[in-house]
Amino acid sequence: MAKNKKHTILKTKNLSIGYSSKKTRTIVASNINIELQQGELIGLVGANGIGKSTLLRTLTKVQESLGGNVIINEKELTSYNANELAKVLSLVLTEQVVSKNLSVFELVALGRQPYTNWVGNLSEHDNEIINQSINQTNIEDLKHKKCFELSDGQLQKVMIARAFAQDTALIILDEPTTHLDMYHKAYILKLLQKMVKDTQKTILFSSHEIDLAIQLCDKLIVMTDDKVIIDTPKNHITQGNFNSLFPKDLIVFDESTASFKIN
């Protein structure tokens, strides 16, 4: 039914991630080989401190890799300049925006920056895309509110709308569901899933909501101490990959319900 060979958006070859200073190199994970296809929703799961953020920061050029390659759209990540990269990759970070005095519309409009002229004037086309992103994330009624008036859940939707407005083939979100209640966690992830279906974008997000991710994602990247595996949730379950996620003294993965249970 679907095209047999889907376009690969992001690919890593023997990627090593970690931190280096003049004297020391701290490798967090190595030999990472993952491929993200167009039109996939991919979750990245793993224990605290396993290196999820480091991996995302390396994939997004916030931090340098310690070895291997990251290839986005068949082009080496290091050969992108800032503005080129901004047109293929947008981010939603865990950090708060500095100025909450921006209105929702203004904040979403900043997503159009890579395309606007030197002073940042919005064209007709820009306005269309901004309004479309606002529709897709269901925040029309917040449009003229200031960001400091919003709840955490609303603000997260706005940040996602901003990434949509950037109109990139790949969107990467770092823990988009933290600080949100159960309903909003599901809401945000469902929103991402719908976006992937509707627009054939590729969305990669890190999360601790493993049970939600299993239900919603096309693929999951499971990060453990010794390896990083990308596969469909189903295969992960049958191969027992979730069992090695956490120390086994407290919680175990129950295959029949696809969730973690207290031991």
């Binding site: 800032a82 981010l91 005095n101 920056q113 890579p114």
Partner: protein
């Protein structure tokens, strides 16, 4: 929304022009408004010295006030956005402390060179050059150290540290100076908008315009920086380059202003806050021109007050800016009950 701003800008521009002419009409010598107007358009006035006062003293002073107020306001705005800190002002990079050090060295160190050199050193140009050199050197040091740090906040701290060092050197110098030298140094510290000839004003305007060009070129980057540096980077902003351009713009503006008018306090910190409160926006495309007008208006008002119309006294402009500016900021914050940043 846009229309709204246009109307506000229209009112403010008219207000600026009115206050500009009011500023020229007021001064220690009472000149009828008709004669002020006549001197401006070049028609002979009933008193020739009036024409001289208006054209060669009051007019350059009013222009200086416009440049100083708008320039300091804009550099304050740039610094507050760059450092994500509402307490930042044009002098956080050590510009005014560097200028103070240069001037202190010239005034208090002049005696070391003695006699002939001392008189040569104490011309007005030597103070301008000393202030420029001082601020340039301190700024250079701050830039060199900050090129090594990745965090923008570190630059803020480094600038403040350099400020402390230069202030300490000035203290040591003052300790060994005569009362007369101290007085001269303190008078420089009061700031002054007058005393600029048309030629000096020309140099001032030239450098000021370069600073403004750099500021305008940074508008887009500044707006993106409202999201934080990592977001700005992900939106295609070259952080290092933008940071450099913003810092250069500030140093050109604040540096020349300090060189020609002395370390004018408070305006750079207060004007951006006043503007944000009135316009209720963080968009630099609106803020930058608005800060320009507000800065010019407030500086012109402060100057008129400092002159104490029809009296022979001139109060230190530095005291007036704080006396006027501080209550305005307090009043705005109390009335709106929240800070807009």
């Amino acid at each position: 929304m846009q229309k709204n701003y246009k109307f506000s800008f229209l009112i403010l521009t008219v207000l600026l022009i009115v206050i500009f002419f009011a500023n020229i009409s007021l001064g220690s010598v009472a000149i009828p408004f008709k004669d002020v107007f006549n001197s401006l358009i070049g028609v002979t006035t009933s008193n020739e010295s009036w024409q001289y006062i208006v054209i060669d003293y009051r007019l350059p002073k009013a222009f200086t006030a416009v440049l100083v107020g708008s320039g300091l306001g804009i550099s304050g705005l740039l610094m507050q956005t760059l450092f994500r800190n509402p307490l930042a002002g044009p002098f956080v990079l050590g510009i005014s402390s560097g200028a103070s050090l240069g001037v202190a060295l010239v005034i208090m160190g002049a005696s070391i060179f003695g006699g002939f050199f001392a008189t040569l050193l104490l011309t007005k140009w030597s103070l301008v050059i000393a202030a420029s050199l001082g601020s340039f050197l301190v700024l250079l040091a701050v830039m060199m150290v900050s090129a090594k740090v990745r965090d923008t906040m570190a630059i803020l701290i480094i600038g403040l540290m350099f400020g402390s060092i230069t202030a300490a050197v000035v203290s040591v110098l003052s300790y060994f100076s005569s009362a007369e030298q101290l007085q001269q140094y303190i008078f420089w510290g009061f700031g002054s908008l007058g005393n600029l000839s048309w030629n000096e004003l020309l140099i001032f305007v030239f450098i000021y315009c370069i600073g403004i060009l750099f500021s305008v070129a940074s508008i887009k980057a500044l707006n993106t920086l409202l999201l934080g540096e990592n977001y700005a980077k992900s939106l295609g902003v070259n952080i290092k380059k933008s940071r450099f351009v913003i810092i250069i713009a500030t140093s050109l503006l604040a540096g020349t202003i300090t060189a020609f008018a002395g370390p004018i306090a408070f305006i750079g910190l207060a004007i951006p806050h006043i503007t944000r409160q009135v316009f209720n926006t963080s968009n630099h495309k609106i803020l930058l021109p608005a800060v320009f007008i507000f800065g010019a208006i407030i500086m012109l008002i402060c100057d008129s007050i400092a002159q104490i119309p029809t009296s022979d006294y001139t109060l230190p402009i530095n005291a007036i800016t704080s006396l006027i500016g501080a209550p305005i900021v307090i009043w705005l914050l109390v009335r709106k009950r929240k800070m807009i940043f």
